[in-house]
Subunit: 156 residues, 2 copies
Amino acid sequence: MPDLLKILNEHVPKIFQTMASLTGVPGNGDIDPPRPSTLHGITGSVSVSGKASGTVYAAFSKNLADAVTIRMLGGDSPADEEVSDVIGEFTNMITGNLKSQLCDAGYACQLSIPTVMRGGDIAVEANTAPICVRNTFYFQELQEELVVLVFAKLDK
Amino acid sequence: MPDLLKILNEHVPKIFQTMASLTGVPGNGDIDPPRPSTLHGITGSVSVSGKASGTVYAAFSKNLADAVTIRMLGGDSPADEEVSDVIGEFTNMITGNLKSQLCDAGYACQLSIPTVMRGGDIAVEANTAPICVRNTFYFQELQEELVVLVFAKLDK
């Protein structure tokens, strides 16, 4: 079975480095986090369906979301819609990478379009997902965090 | 193109009638609601991917969620996990019906596993979805409401 946490730890920093010249350092991660799992800030979400089914959430702090958007699009005070575009795209890249690795491992699956949520604390659960992994990526330069949470069910 | 609002208005009440003996009356519905769209209560979500891609949200008021769970599982004070199971299953049925109709219309797609969110107001957006429909279903007997929101992108 693919090691989802290892895939995230390797590829999430690469995406931020390449797209926004930001260095994100993964925390220890959790392959059995408390459920439901609570997310804060602005959260992108992309689902996969097929032999692998599930959802990837990427929860950006407000400052991280703004900083990434400014680095991608320029300007200094991005509109909510621009921030949503960028967060949707980052979440799409994170999930797209995971999807490629799952397909390579024999779990053929497809991505859905991204959605972006804003709220206070949002507690999310996927009762039918045997797999749940979560990690925090710390951006020292901005002193801000990204949380990535994955619920998945793999059917060989 | 399939009329998503018409499909929801026809099938959401059937699901509640069959599964929980509850009569839900659709409101007028909106095929171009304000975006982002705000949801309250306990919200199930299921995505589809393929030639149709998108996400269906079903936002239950707390009392409606409890009532449906009690009608499905018995008892009188359901645990959060039981409520999540039932809401996930209802959202799966709503989305599964939509998926069947989309497949029949030539938009082959697959479902992801359901997720369930709890929070205050949650504003959701899917910038890459040209289609957004929303309707409220009113359950007179309980004086409670369900909101169903669909973001979709169809590629023939």
